[in-house]
């Protein structure tokens, strides 16, 4: 499965963006994706890939590359302890 292509497709769809807008190099901030839209994309990816994305991984997903990397690690069952360490002290994706 081409994880990267699927990620680009999901983000494009969820953000209602014209095809071609989202590239592997795009960051969420460049794409104008706010915190609520970010959690919506995570939800869509979880549904698409039939997985749970742990909060520690989710918090490090702020660009298309990071999403692809994080998803790949979850899909392959790799160690995410470095992300857990980074996540400590950081803020949740949505407030209120």
């Amino acid at each position: 499965m081409d994880v990267a292509a699927k990620v680009v497709e999901v983000i494009t769809r969820e953000q209602h963006l014209p095809p071609g807008t989202v590239t592997l190099n795009s960051t969420f901030s460049e794409l104008g994706i706010d915190s609520l839209e970010g959690v919506n994309i995570l939800f869509a990816l979880e549904e698409e890939f039939k997985i749970d994305i742990p909060d520690a991984v989710a918090q490090n997903m702020k660009s298309v590359t990071q999403v692809v990397d994080g998803l790949t690690r979850v899909l392959e069952g790799k160690d995410i302890s470095d992300l857990v360490a980074i996540a400590k002290g950081s803020t949740p994706a949505a407030s209120h």
Partner: protein, 417 residues
């Protein structure tokens, strides 16, 4: 500001209902006794014993909203935004940057985003979903219309939502009236929205045994004050009015539809569903007192008039108790006979009808009236609109739970410019 507060007027009207998606067609349908009740189309109602409702027909959300925006809007918020747009357009109001903190939004809803919540629950319970869409909360919350409207118009003043079942939007408009009267805001968009036509909601109301069963003839199912009435018909819609401080409205040359001058609020404190006479009667007296309007100056009562056997008898008794002999002269009608019972939106939709009646001197009828009930023996304007000059009018809202709100409007007395 004097001790008695500032004068408040209505300068914008917006409505989105089964009987019309804007105020002109809405009012024309009412005065022609045209019903908005039909067989339910939002889902297959075949399993229900009551398969009819006052639905907004031919509604396509993408005609009104961008797809990205729609992701965050439950149907009840969509309706509220559409009614708010009409209220703003009809007012001609342009809010300057520095006025935004004095511009508020108060919107009532009885059920909130029940459609979104119901489909989410279906996924959880029936399909075993382990997570719900992250937009569920911002779509379902009762204050979603208030927040979305305040964002659309940059209204940064006092803003909140009310939820008192069938009185939700009357309370909202009343609260907005007082915000302006007592100086906390200069302009407020106020009203209500509800879209409770879902399988679960219909099932819930079915079991209370208060719905009219008119599957064979939906348009005449709801017959308030008529001896053969069977109950109410579930409705949906939104009504939103722009309330504005009078001097401000006058300075900008606004078209003033009416003055809003009274709010009476009471609680029966007796029974969770059964209405009392005392609570509503006190609410009417309070609104007249606040507006300094004598009972015999009230020429029209837009009744709560649900069409249930109990409500209509009680409301008739309430009107007799407050108005005495004048009860036999005042025009009373239930427009719910046509636009159904739009729950938390109904008070606002009915106030739009009341204001238009006042402005034009035409009382919309109680549709589907067939024969008198000895216990309901007043002038309910049966089936035919009546042209008559109206000085003042009240709109009654009596909620399940005994929470009453009555609004008083009158023609603006012409004063020197």
């Amino acid at each position: 500001m004097g001790q008695n507060g500032r004068k408040v007027v209505i300068t914008g009207l917006g409505v989105f209902a089964s009987t019309g998606k804007e105020r002109e067609s809405f009012f024309t349908n009412l005065i022609n006794a045209r019903s908005g009740v039909r067989r339910i189309s939002q889902f297959d109602p075949s399993p229900l014993s009551v398969q009819i409702a006052a639905e907004v027909p031919d509604y396509n959300p993408t005609d009104h909203f961008q797809p990205k925006r729609l992701d965050l809007l439950d149907r009840f918020t969509q309706f509220a935004l559409l009614a708010a747009r009409e209220a703003m357009e009809s007012s001609g109001l342009e809010v300057r940057e520095e006025e935004r903190p004095r511009f508020g939004v108060v919107i009532g809803s009885g059920m909130g985003g029940v459609q979104t919540f119901e489909s989410g629950c279906f996924n959880v319970y029936a399909r075993g979903a382990t997570r719900l869409h992250p937009f569920t909360i911002p779509k379902v919350m009762h204050n979603a219309p208030t927040s979305q409207i305040s964002m659309e118009y940059g209204a940064q003043g006092p803003s909140f939502s009310t939820s008192t079942a069938c009185s939700s939007s009357a309370h909202a408009i009343g609260a907005a009236f007082h915000l302006i009267k007592y100086g906390q805001a200069d302009m407020v968009l106020a009203g209500g929205s509800d879209t409770p036509i879902t399988m679960s909601m219909m099932r819930s109301w079915e079991s209370v045994r208060v719905l009219a069963n008119g599957n064979g003839n939906p348009a005449s199912a709801c017959r308030p004050f008529s001896a053969d009435r069977e109950g109410f018909v579930m409705g949906e819609g939104a009504g939103i009015l722009l309330l504005e401080e009078y001097e401000r409205a006058r300075r900008r040359g606004a078209n003033i539809f009416a003055e809003i001058c009274g709010l009476g609020m009471t609680s029966d404190a007796t029974h969770i569903t059964q209405p009392s006479v005392d609570g509503p009667a006190r609410a009417i007296r309070l609104t007249l007192e606040e507006g300094e309007v004598r009972p015999d100056e009230v020429d029209y009562i837009n009744a709560h008039g649900t069409g249930t056997p109990l409500n209509d008898v009680t409301e008739t008794e309430v009107i007799k108790r407050v108005f005495g002999e004048h009860a036999r002269r005042v025009a009373i009608s239930s427009t719910k006979s046509m636009h159904g019972h739009a729950m938390g939106a109904t008070g606002a939709i009915e106030l739009v009808a009341t204001v238009m009646a006042l402005e034009r001197g035409v009382v919309p009828p109680t549709a589907n009236y067939t024969r008198p009930d000895p216990q309901c023996d007043l002038d309910y304007v049966p089936n035919q609109a009546q042209e008559r000059p109206l000085r003042a009018a009240i709109s009654n809202s009596f909620a399940f739970g005994g929470l009453n709100a009555v609004l008083l409007v009158r023609r603006l007395k012409s004063d020197p410019m």
